[in-house]
Symmetry: C2
Subunit: 225 residues, 2 copies
DNA sequence: CGTCAATATGAATGGTTAGTCATATGGCGA
DNA sequence: TCGCCATATGACTAACCATTCATATTGACG
């Protein structure tokens, strides 16, 4: 199927140019958002002419999508082995949390794209706030997490939590921490913070068993007044 | 200071028109994002002429900002009494979680704005991903949450968690759940899901005390291979 | 009514930018 | 060395859209 035998001179050059464009575009999109970057800017940043970009990508939107997809695939390939290994569900979750540090640190520019993704050319109210493959990848990740949680519950490792609650919660909480750290200059505390998330998720915030039901009731009573 | 005595006919009309424009703009911005909505569209949606909008707002950006600010203030005013009451820190957190349902449900369109906020005319890498007052409000909310957590830890109600980790984590997790529910048609499960978050945060996912440290070590060993 | 001030109107303006295309370039085989 | 083809170029076009402003409408008040 795939021709492995022909990375001719021309072809390799072309591929290099392509990736230079992608790099430049990624930097700019990540920094300023889709609508605030013109093809001119991208061209200048990549040291090509405007028209050249259109030899590689049909439209600005296509370029954007391809970048998103690339990043998404990359992230997924890093996370997948962790969540699908043969280990204990508890270790999978812990491993996922710890891996997030590296993944998000290494792709921090790329990930910013996802933060800024909401603005994209997609005006729709898609399930996630991403577009195209990126949305699928997000869904896949969520699905994997849910499965791990479900398995953990089945085996009695976790309390009978709802995977559809915990999976997005973990994902969102992690993102919040990692991104806020990525934006500050001093990301020194990142490791500790992620460890904090880990503990939070595994053990909760309470010191001892506390009568949750009573509190909830009190709160809703107060609400009605 | 504030003249309470003069909502004359003219003035009241003007105010009504203004809020009709705000409503229309909010609907559109929430649905399609700042850049994908033209002043024309807003004018049509609000049943005014383009120029009329400029009698109320200096620019598109001003309009956007004012909407954001309005929503932010509204949300803050709902949350503040819960977090600053005289109750137990545990109840404050529980109350905050439960209140989020109502708040986000009632302003679901408005809140979508915050989701889409990243795109705004602000290209900067601001601390939060919001602009202007909205950013401040977000910070204020976070600060209040942190204080509650810190107080809870001090009183021994919570384990020695880091407020700077837990506050954003709770916020992000809640948002993730509420928004995903808001986007699905069947939000029937929302109450249960939020209750799930509550339990998750208070008690964690583990059934029993489990040797977290060992797991962490195993995971990082594996990482190095 | 008639007048005036406040407000609404929407066609016109100017600036921006995605995307095109006729032309130039340069590597490569003959 | 020559000519060819893949690729690069960047001035140009067409569309879009925020904003303006000369004009029309409204409704309050004498």
């Amino acid at each position: 199927m795939a021709e492995k035998t022909k990375p001719s001179r021309r072809q390799r050059e072309r591929q290099r140019h392509r990736s230079e464009i992608v790099d430049a575009a990624m930097r700019l999109f990540a920094e300023k958002g889709f609508h605030n970057v013109s093809m001119q800017e991208i061209a200048v940043e990549a040291e090509f002419a405007t028209g050249t970009i259109y030899n590689f990508f049909d439209s600005k939107e296509t370029l954007y999508r391809e970048i998103m997809d690339e990043v998404a695939d990359n992230v997924l390939s890093l996370v997948k082995p962790i969540l699908e290994g043969e280990t204990d569900e508890r270790e999978k979750i812990a491993g996922f949390i710890r891996a997030s540090i590296r993944i998000f640190q290494e792709n921090s520019a790329a990930i910013r794209l996802f933060l800024r993704a909401n603005q994209g050319p997609l005006a729709h109210v898609s399930t996630a706030h991403f577009s195209g493959t990126a949305a699928k990848v997000h869904d896949i990740l969520q699905a994997m997490l849910k499965q791990v949680f479900a398995a953990g519950v089945r085996k009695g490792l976790f309390r009978p939590i709802d995977p559809c609650v915990v999976a997005p919660a973990l994902d969102a909480a992690l993102r919040a921490i990692v991104f806020s750290a990525a934006e500050d200059v001093q990301d020194s505390a990142l490791e500790e913070k992620v460890a904090g998330i880990e503990e939070l998720f595994f053990r909760g915030i309470l010191h001892d068993a506390w009568n949750l039901a009573a509190c909830v009731k009190a709160a809703s009573d107060r609400e009605e007044s």
